[in-house]
Amino acid sequence: MAAELEIVSREALFDLALRLGDTSLVLGHRLSEWAGHGPLLEEDIALSNLGLDLIGQARSFLSYAGEVEGKGRDEDKLAFFRNAPEYKNLLMVELPKGDFAFTMVRQLLFSAFHLPLFRRMINSTDTTIAAIAAKAEKEMSYHLRHSSQWVVRMGDGTEESHARCQKAVDDLWPYTGEVFEVDNNARELIEAGIWVDPEYLRDEWNGTLDAVLNEATLKKPESGWMQSGGISGTHSEHLGHLLAEMQSVQRAYPGLKW
């Protein structure tokens, strides 16, 4: 529960819950696009599983965001009746699903960060965040294992799979900087012990990626210019399309129960 509201601002906590909820929702949505279209039946099932985990996390975080905000918005009001600039997800997760290499490399980059993040958040002073993190941590460890195995298979597979995988790593790399961004709201929560300073996770994140990419015979790009904007609501061109599709029924028939 949001007992810490006395010591942190409601806005900051709302912001964090949205950031985590929106990120999970948008990535879950992208993964769900594979259902029925995967490269082998086992992966249709596995990618659906990953998507279901993330949609479940999104529901928990968004419900909590609504509770913290205190204006009567539930998970669906927040998911279906906000426009792209109000979404706080990482840019990385809204990029189209691409080929199987892109999807798996994104899942690797994402889960290599979110596993240690949730592991630390289990000790959050906010008990709701801590409880959601405890469940999400187990899910992330599976996501990391599954995506690592595939990145290794593809990187160390054929010439074509190696090239596709390396391209995915290169294309996604500029989107990895955002996970380490800390704004004023986040700073406030870090100081209150609710949120984790992402800098503490950088070494573990790098270590995980080095090990997987090395085994996959893939090159980790030089850290260079990084994309930014998701957290502040300045998104890529893709989020608007995703939301237009996702929100279409609710927007066409507002105010009804489904």
Partner: protein
């Protein structure tokens, strides 16, 4: 049903080869005694062939069936609906997987079966050649299509071939959950606004007749039914299953406040069953022959997924081969 193409009169089932009478007699004794036939047991070649066709068509139907429902995952109107629909489509994939595995016990590979589907040599249930145009269609598929599937599959749990019967036990459990989910989607719509109720009615109007066609031709026109009944692969006839389905479904429609699009539908006090109108078998044959609203799209989507996945499957094989080579080099050293 999901394997309705088996009723195609153009395909004949081979008779038991000469010299195998004794084995066949023993086989039929076991069938009569309701024993389960297992993969390593002797079975007539035609029994094996029939089962491979039936189980693989069933598997293909589950996999193709992911497409019309998958069409609404990204547009489900609430997060709960999104999660349950995604989980449902995932279940269908799971059904496909263990049905392929059941068929593999008969000596055919999944790759071979999938190639038969892509080549147009194997069929899938025609019901999935109809489009999902509104959210209500997700309700209708669960309620009617899964409902019809359950009617057919519950007797298959007692099918003479062990792996198929056992797969059906699990499939039926999940399907009945899906059916309740579908009905619950429609219930929410029917309790909702006039627009939502109209959406539900319009969906029922489109799905009703194709759903009752899922049981296949009338018994008199169903070529393979007799042999399948004798082998206890099939337990209940097409017409009996269809009647059971209609009898169960009509009161459910009434509870929703929806009208079944059949002016001849009437409860028969004498028989205790619902009498229904004439089925448009021309439509059934036309869609089965490839001319339904989505036949081409479904096969294109499946072919695209298969072709796009080719490099992934090759990568997995290449990596496995490299690993095996490295392992044997290490051993040698």
């Amino acid at each position: 049903m999901y394997t309705q193409a088996l009723n195609d009169p153009s395909s004949k089932i081979a008779t038991v080869e000469e010299g195998e009478e004794k084995l066949n007699d023993y086989f039929m004794e076991r069938i009569s005694a309701d024993e389960k036939i297992e993969p390593n047991d002797w079975m007539p070649a035609s029994y094996r062939k029939t089962l491979i066709r039936q189980i693989s068509q069933h598997a293909h139907s589950e996999v193709i069936g992911m497409l019309p429902e998958g069409n609404w995952i990204t547009r489900a109107p609430t997060l709960r609906r999104k999660a349950t629909l995604l989980a449902k489509v995932q279940d269908e994939g799971g059904h496909g997987l263990y049905l392929y595995a059941a068929a593999e016990t008969l000596g055919i590979s999944r790759e071979e079966m999938q190639q038969q589907l892509l080549d147009g040599k194997a069929r899938y249930s025609s019901i999935f050649n109809y489009p999902t145009l509104t959210w209500a269609d997700i309700g209708s598929i669960g309620w009617l299509v899964d409902g019809a599937a359950i009617m057919n599959q519950i007797p298959l749990c007692r099918c003479s071939f062990g792996p198929y019967a056992r797969a059906m036990v699990r499939v039926c459990k999940e399907e009945s959950f899906h059916q309740r989910q579908g009905y619950e989607i429609l219930l929410a719509l029917c309790k909702g606004s006039a627009e939502q109720k109209a959406m539900a009615q319009e969906s029922l109007d489109r799905w009703w007749w194709p759903s009752i066609m899922m049981f296949g031709p009338h018994d008199a026109n169903s070529t393979h039914s007799d042999q399948s009944m004798a082998w206890k692969i099939k337990r209940i006839s097409n017409d009996d299953l269809r009647q059971k389905f209609i009898d169960a479904t009509v009161p459910q429609a009434h509870h929703l406040g929806l009208e079944i699009p059949d002016p001849d539908l009437k409860f028969n006090e004498k028989t205790g069953h619902w009498d229904f109108g004439k089925i448009d078998w021309d439509e059934f044959k036309r869609v089965l022959a490839g001319n339904g609203p989505c036949n081409r799209e479904r096969m294109e989507a499946r072919t695209k997924a298969h072709n796009d996945g080719d490099w992934v499957r090759k990568a997995a094989l290449a990596h496995a081969a490299k690993q095996a080579a490295r392992k044997s080099t290490r051993k040698a050293a």
